[in-house]
């Protein structure tokens, strides 16, 4: 057969098309979604979720509480950021909670929620979270889901490696991400004197085992590295706390490059038990500093802020045996201890392997002085090979963080290759991987950092969503993926957007928290200085230019609701007590033109709004929480008269024939 040039052309065209079809890009993974996903995450209306998930809000400064497996948002707990929605940080009672040595700081960057632990297990009593920017640690009471204590940490910059707790919540820790000159040292120094003048301070905050109250116990002064994350030992490694260090180059500019030069940085092992003994023996150096300690009292419903003036420090170079360094490839982020307390997994975000250190080998190396040099003259670096159990090979790109299940597996996030990798703790072999959408930082398994992981669910906490949801302009939500880890293969069940940045999360069985819930505050136990326990005790009191309004709220009126004799320039404090004694009957309170937020007052609680009327006139106020069928009637008026006028102080509420 003879082919014409045109036939050759047709043939070439067909071959081109076939070649093109063959060379198509590989398909995207969609198969990881569990076929039964809908059934597994469906929580019927009116039914409860099995798990509470506490997600940090990252740059929102708060904690978001989700139900798992449904992924339903249950509550945003205000912690470090003002929350106009319920008056947190706006009401007179809560303003002191956001006080610091720098004054009122109404925002922070909240990274790592940490459930309190007893015998290495989550006990459901409190959850701690760090403020990264202005170094702070907060404690939230899990019977009321309210932030009840915030302690500032002196001497550090960027409290990132925090607030990880020891096995029985003896301590929560804080550590500096940005080393800097200590607070009481000469600090007007050239930035390039970093190596001479900058320091790190490992902070141990003692937690009272009965009431949870926090106290800065001591700080270890360490070399000026960047300290990223931490985890306490448990069981055999109970006495130790492990921190990851990067920027061991001690760079102070363009860290992106200059802090990424060395092949290995460190895991710093701190013998906190030994440090505690040294402090008890009076070896600590008392140094003057300034840091705020804020406590919210749930009986007075009022916070107080105390400025502390002293810390105790131990210079680790003067006390041998306090810290040891384990070389760790490269710029490590997470440092995680296996449930049995025997192995320490570090994740170097620029490393090609995940090193797993053996705690027993570490002790042996310390005994044998198996050193690979010293830092700052006398801080031993242990030999990598001597402390290594092994390496997880080719885990993926950008390993960040690892947690554990109840069956001997570890799960690590890969930030750069955007996946979660499952591997066996005993032989360090990778058994499965699943894509993440996109770029996971931390992950969370129910009880995954404790002695007894519950397993079942894994949350991959992602930084980027791009095309995952309906677009909302340039600013998109971050998100997390819920993954079923009960089988051999990980299965994607659900993904849902979150508030702020879901930097890290802790998950706990709902039963451990649910049964202890407070439904409302008992009015008879309300010890607020301005409480009004009955409508007949309501009053308005003037003292110079200060006016105190003792107001009550009950369905469906505020008393008093007609108030005259307020003058321009007064400082008016409205103390509203919610008289209700029933579940889920909050009342709100807002004033037209007040340069403030609203109050949201729980049953039995008293909250105070400060208002500075600046012009004369009639000013309405009302209840903002749709409390009842007559909520729209729950309102009142202030009459504001000119400064210096003699309008008499008068307050009243119409007679209610029904309740007399």
């Amino acid at each position: 057969m003879k082919l014409s040039p045109y036939d050759y052309f047709k043939l070439a065209l067909v071959m081109l098309v076939v070649t093109f079809a063959w060379s198509c890009k590989p398909g995207k993974a969609g198969s990881s979604v569990d076929a039964d996903a809908a059934k597994k995450v469906y929580v019927a209306p009116g039914k409860y979720d099995e798990i509470y998930a506490f997600l940090s809000g990252g740059f929102s400064g708060q904690i978001a509480v989700y139900g798992i497996p449904s992924g339903r948002l249950l509550k945003v707990i205000p912690v470090f950021s003002q929350n106009p929605e319920n008056g947190w940080g706006y009401s007179e009672e809560t303003k002191p909670m956001l006080n610091t040595s720098h004054g009122f700081v109404p925002w922070d960057d909240a990274h790592h929620p940490e459930l309190s632990k007893t015998n290495g297990e989550d006990d459901g009593r409190w959850i701690f979270i760090n403020g990264n920017n202005t170094p702070r640690i907060a404690r939230i009471n899990l019977t009321t889901f309210k932030t009840v204590e915030i302690i500032e940490l002196p001497n550090i910059g960027g409290n990132h490696a925090s607030p990880f707790c020891t096995e029985n919540t003896e301590y929560v820790v804080g550590n500096t991400r940005f080393s800097q000159p200590l607070d009481n040292a000469k600090n007007d120094v050239p930035i390039d004197s970093y190596k001479q003048n900058f320091k790190g301070a490992v902070s141990f905050v003692k937690v009272d085992k009965d009431n949870g109250s926090m106290k800065l116990a001591f700080q270890l002064i360490v070399p000026p590295f960047n300290y990223d994350l931490a985890h306490a030992g448990k069981g055999p490694s109970h006495d130790w706390m492990f921190f990851t260090c990067y920027n061991t180059e001690e760079a102070h500019t363009l860290l992106e490059v200059n802090a990424s030069q060395r092949d290995k940085d460190f895991v710093m092992a701190v013998n906190w038990k030994k440090a505690e003994e040294l402090i008890q023996q009076g070896k600590g150096t008392k140094t003057p500093v300034k840091y705020a300690h804020n406590v919210y009292d749930e009986n007075t419903h009022t916070a107080t802020s105390t400025m502390e003036t002293e810390t105790q420090t131990l210079d680790v170079t003067k006390f041998p045996g306090l810290v040891y360094y384990m070389p760790c490839p490269k710029s490590p982020h997470g440092v995680d201890v296996t449930p049995d307390g025997e192995n320490i997994v570090a994740s170097g975000k620029l490393a090609a392997v995940i090193p797993v250190f053996s705690f027993q080998k570490m002790l042996t190396a310390i005994d044998k002085k198996d050193y690979d040099g010293m830092i700052d003259g006398n801080l031993p670096v242990l030999k990598y090979e001597s402390v290594l159990k092994g390496e997880v090979k080719k885990p993926g790109l950008g390993p960040l963080h690892t947690e554990f299940d109840d069956k001997g597996f570890a799960y690590s996030t890969m930030f750069v290759s955007s996946e979660v990798v499952k591997w066996r703790i005993d032989n360090l072999q990778i058994v499965d991987r699943i894509p993440s959408y996109y770029s996971p930082g931390h992950l969370s398994i129910v009880g995954g950092d404790s002695k007894k992981p519950y397993g079942k669910y894994l949350l991959s906490l992602n930084k980027i969503t791009k095309d995952r949801y309906l677009p909302t302009g340039p600013e998109l939500a971050q998100a997390c993926q819920l993954i079923d880890i009960t089988g051999d293969k990980m299965k994607l069940l659900l993904d849902f957007p979150t508030i702020g940045e879901p930097h890290y999360a802790q998950m706990i069985l709902a039963d451990k928290i649910n049964k202890n819930q407070v439904k409302f505050y008992k009015l008879e136990d309300n010890k607020n200085a301005y409480v009004t326990k009955s409508e007949k005790d309501t009053k308005v009191v003037r003292n110079g230019s200060r006016v105190d309004v003792y107001m009550t709220a009950i369905r469906s009126h505020l008393a008093p609701d007609n108030i005259e004799g307020i003058k321009v320039g007064d400082d008016v404090y409205i103390h509203v007590t919610n008289l209700e004694q029933d579940w889920d009957v909050p009342h709100g309170f807002a004033i037209k033109g007040a340069n403030n937020a609203e109050l949201l007052i729980m049953p039995g609680e008293t909250c105070t709004l400060k208002w500075n009327p600046y012009q004369q006139g009639i000013v309405p106020f009302y209840c903002t929480d749709f409390c009842s069928a007559l909520h729209q009637e729950m309102q009142g008026y202030f009459r504001v008269s000119p400064a210096g006028s003699n309008t008499p102080l008068k307050f009243s509420i119409g007679e209610n024939p029904v309740t007399q």
């Binding site: 024939p657 029904v658 309740t659």
Partner: protein
């Protein structure tokens, strides 16, 4: 009547009599529970109150979610329910005490006459008690303040005497509570003691 038959008859009477005494004794003891357990309760269910509201009626007073119930009732202008408004609770414990002691006395004295007096008093107590309960319900349900925010249709918001009734968004139930059930059981036993006559056993008459 043969001697043997007479013997059997006497024996049967003796057995019956001690059975009666035991019944009366158990009955009076059950009634003592009124001092430790609530007699009656009114249950309120609404969409917003899935956990329900409850008012318990004891021999000596009321308990339960009275504040919440008053808080809700103020919308329809019902008078606030207050323990002090019920004089009954002041003397009820004594009246009932006398009643129960008559039962014990009947059992101890083996007196059928006392037993009858006891039974009739119990019946009277029940009739008067329920009538009084009804009158109170009527008063609360009908004396609604005309200035209240919600005008109930027909100005009638009377809870049921026994059983369930829909009142606006609430399903109201009026039912005996643990104490009431035990007292009722005591009443049944008291009636049994009087009216139940065991047949003579064929085995014994042979």
């Amino acid at each position: 009547m043969s001697a043997r038959q007479r013997y059997t008859f006497t024996l049967n009477r003796k057995i019956m009599k001690s059975l009666t005494r035991v019944l009366v004794f158990i009955s009076a003891t059950l009634m003592l529970s009124a001092y430790f357990l609530p007699l009656w309760h009114i249950l309120l269910d609404a969409p917003q109150y899935p956990e329900g509201l409850e008012m318990k009626i004891w021999l000596k007073g009321l308990s339960g979610n009275i504040d919440q119930i008053n808080g809700l009732n103020h919308y329809i202008g019902m008078k606030f329910i207050r323990n002090a408004d019920f004089k009954e609770f002041k003397f009820l414990p004594y009246v009932f005490g006398i009643l129960v002691s008559i039962g014990f006395m009947a059992a101890i004295a083996k007196s059928r006459k006392l037993l009858w007096i006891w039974f009739i008093s119990l019946c009277l107590f029940a009739v008067i008690g329920f009538s009084d309960f009804y009158v109170w319900e009527y008063k609360y349900g009908h004396n609604l303040n005309p200035h209240a925010a919600i005008k109930v249709e027909g100005m009638n918001y009377q809870p049921p005497l026994f059983g369930y009734k829909q009142l606006l968004n609430f399903t109201a139930g009026s039912l005996p509570d643990a104490g009431g059930i035990l007292v009722g059981l005591g009443g049944v036993l008291a009636a049994a003691a009087i009216f139940y006559k065991p047949k003579s056993s064929p085995n014994l008459s042979k």
